[in-house]
Point group: C2
Chain length 358, copies 2
C-alpha cells in the first residue's frame, strides 16, 4: 500500500506540530523519567558518540543526549516542530552538538552513521501510529554495526478486566438508536421520506463507534481480574517491519479476583533500555504503561470490551485469541480481533469474538 504523504500529514503528523501536544508528552512524568534515567544512568553509551533522534519533536531527547556527552546528535523531525526544537537547542546551548533536521526520517540524508538511535516512537498499545517503521528504516540505513537502540526492547501485555465502560457504552449506543427511530418517524411524517432502510447501516455505524472501538483508559490495578500475559516481544535491534505488521497471540489467563464480571481485556506495553549484549546498560531502565495508581502515563491502557460480560470466578481459566493487523484504510490504525474461551467448573463458555478499531 502506497502511503500518500499529504494525507498522512493531514491525518497523523499535524497534531505533532502543536506545542500543546508536545507539552502533553513532556509532562508525562513516567515517560520523562524513564528516558532521562536511561540516558543519564548510562552516560558511557553517549560520551563522545553520535546519536540519531528519530522524531525529535521538541528536541528533548536530543538535548539530553548532548548533555550526557554525545559528540554529535542528529535530531530529525517531520513537522514544523523542528523549528521550535532548533530554538530550544540553542537556548540550552547545545547547538554545536545537536543538528536539527526538518524532514521525514525516510527522506533525510545524514553525513555519517550513528552509534545510537534514540526515539520515542510508541503509540497507544505500542504499535498504533506505526511509527516504529520509521525507526526500523533509520536503523537499517544509519546505525553502525555495533550501534545501540534506545529503547532496546518492547513488549505488549494483555489481561482480563472488569469495567463500567461496558454498561456506559451500551447505554450511549442504545440512546443513539432510540433517537434514530424517532428521527425515522419524524422524517416520514413531516417530510414524506421513509428512512427506515438506513436503520441497518446507521446501526452498523453506531456499533462501530460505540461498541467496536477500543477505548483509552487509565485503569485502576484492581480492575485487572486475572493473570496478565506478554503477547509480543520486540527486539528493537533486529525486528523488521514484517515482524510487526501483524500481532497474533493465543494466551491463557486465570481469574484471580473472586466472583466478578469479565467485561473485556486491556492491553498495555513496556519498553526497556538495556543497551546491547556487547555493550550493555550500566543500569537497565524500564518504562511501563501497566495499570497503576501512582504512575499513570498519557498512553493509559487500551480497553477492548466484550459486549456480553461473563460471570467468572476465581480459578476460572481462559484461552484468549488475539489478532491485530493494520487497517486497510490507514496504515497507522489497527484492526483487532479477539475471542475468548472460558473453562469454568460448570462447563465451557465462549465470549464473543469481534473486530475492534484501535
Amino acid at each position: 500500500a502506497v502511503v500518500d504523504r499529504g494525507v498522512d500529514f493531514a491525518n497523523y503528523f499535524c497534531t505533532y506540530a502543536f506545542l500543546y501536544h508536545q507539552k502533553e508528552m513532556l509532562s508525562d512524568r513516567v515517560r520523562m523519567d524513564a528516558y532521562y534515567n536511561s540516558i543519564f544512568s548510562n552516560k558511557h553509551h553517549f560520551v563522545g558518540k553520535t546519536v540519531l533522534d528519530v522524531g525529535t519533536g521538541s528536541g528533548i531527547l536530543a538535548i539530553w543526549s548532548a548533555q550526557a556527552g554525545a559528540r554529535k546528535v542528529y535530531a530529525v523531525e517531520a513537522t514544523k516542530m523542528a523549528e521550535h526544537a532548533r530554538e530550544l537547542v540553542k537556548a540550552n546551548n547545545v547547538q554545536d552538538v545537536v543538528q536539527v533536521i526538518e524532514g521525514s526520517m525516510e527522506d533525510v540524508t545524514l553525513p555519517e552513521k550513528v552509534d545510537i538511535i534514540i526515539s520515542e516512537w510508541m503509540g497507544y498499545f505500542l504499535l498504533r501510529e506505526s511509527m516504529f517503521d520509521s525507526v526500523i528504516f533509520a536503523r537499517e540505513r544509519w546505525l553502525k554495526p555495533n550501534g545501540i537502540m534506545y529503547p532496546s526492547h518492547a513488549r505488549m501485555w494483555m489481561a482480563p478486566i472488569r469495567t463500567g465502560l461496558t454498561d456506559q457504552k451500551k447505554h450511549d449506543y442504545d440512546g443513539t438508536m432510540e433517537d434514530w427511530l424517532y428521527f425515522v418517524d419524524d422524517t416520514k411524517n413531516y417530510y414524506g421520506v421513509d428512512m427506515s432502510i438506513l436503520t441497518k447501516p446507521f446501526d452498523a455505524e453506531q456499533r462501530k463507534y460505540y461498541l467496536q472501538t477500543s477505548l483509552w483508559n487509565n485503569l485502576h490495578p484492581d480492575q485487572v481480574i486475572g493473570t496478565s500475559a506478554v503477547i509480543k516481544e520486540i527486539d528493537c535491534l533486529t525486528a523488521t517491519v514484517n515482524d510487526i505488521l501483524q500481532v497474533r497471540a493465543t494466551f491463557s489467563s486465570s481469574i484471580t479476583a473472586e466472583d466478578t464480571r469479565l467485561c473485556g481485556f486491556t492491553g498495555w506495553f513496556d519498553v526497556h533500555f538495556r543497551g546491547r549484549k556487547e555493550n550493555p546498560a550500566q543500569q537497565e531502565i524500564e518504562l511501563t504503561t501497566a495499570p497503576s495508581m501512582d504512575n499513570c502515563t498519557h498512553w493509559g491502557q487500551q480497553v477492548f470490551l466484550l459486549h456480553s460480560p461473563v460471570r467468572v470466578h476465581e480459578g476460572d481459566d481462559m484461552i484468549v485469541n488475539f489478532s491485530m493487523s493494520r487497517s486497510k484504510e490507514n496504515h497507522r490504525l489497527m484492526d483487532v480481533e479477539l475471542g475468548c474461551e472460558i473453562k469454568q467448573s460448570s462447563g465451557r463458555e465462549l465470549a464473543d469474538v469481534h473486530i475492534v478499531k484501535l
Copy 2:
C-alpha cells in the same frame, strides 16, 4: 493553489461519509422546512423538468425533487454516502427518476443539461467549506441557459453582540498559560532543560486556539446589541468563484441596547428561493440562520470576539471593517480580519483589529 484530492478528503469530505452527520442536517427543522417548502410550494418549477442535486448526501433533496414531479434528477455525491442515497432512493420508489452518481461534481459527466440545480452547500457563516465553488462549477457546465438555482440568492449578515464567551475564553487561555509556566519550571528543575524560549510560540499557539478562532454559538436575540447589516449579497445564478474568494465590507451599526458591553460581532446568513426573473417562484421561501429563540439551526451563528470589550451606550455609532479570505493552508477555511471604530458622545474609540480563523 492546487488542491490535493486525498488531503481534501481526509480534511473535509470524510465527515460527510457518516450517517450520523447527515442525520444532524436532516434533523435541522429550519433547514428541512425551507428546502421542503421551496420545492413543494413551487412544483411548477419541477414538474417534467431535469434537476441536478450537487452534493446529495443522503439523497433527500433529490427524492423531494422527484416527488414534486421532476422527470429526471441527477444526484451527485463525492463520498460513499452515495451508496446509502441509492438505497434510500429505491426504498422511496423514485429509482426511475433519481440517478445517484458517486463522484466529485468537478469530475462527473451528465447525459444532458438540467433545468434546475438544487444544492445545500452552505457552511458556517455561509462560505466556510467553499462548497459553493462546486455549485458554480456545476452551473457553468450543466445548467441550461434559462435554468434556475435552488437557492437563488444568499446574504451574509453581521451585528454587534454581548456574550459571556469573552470572559470564558480569556479564562481558559489564562489557565493554559499559567499551567505552561509551571511546566517550564518543572522541566528546568527536574530535567535540566530550559523551555522558556518556547513560551512565546506557545502563547501564540494558545492565543490562536482560544482567542483567535471564531466560535460556533446559538445566540439569544437579546445578545444582539445593535443594528445588523448585510455585508455580502450573492446571486447564485451569476456569482463567480472570484466574487466569493474574498469578502470585504465596511458597515455601520448603532447600539440599540442600553448601557452594555460590546464583546464582539456575530455573523450569520440567509438564503432565498425565488426562482429567476423570467420564471419566478410562486411562493418565495427564506432560510435564515439569524439569532432566534425558536428557530435555531445547526449552523448557529459565528462569533468573533473582541478581546477587550468596550463599554457602549444606546445610540453609539460604529464603523466596522470586515475582511474574509481563504486560508492559505486550506482553501475550505477562512481568515477573518475585523476592526471597529466607535463614535461615542465622549469621543472616539478603536476596538482591536485582529485576525481570526473560521
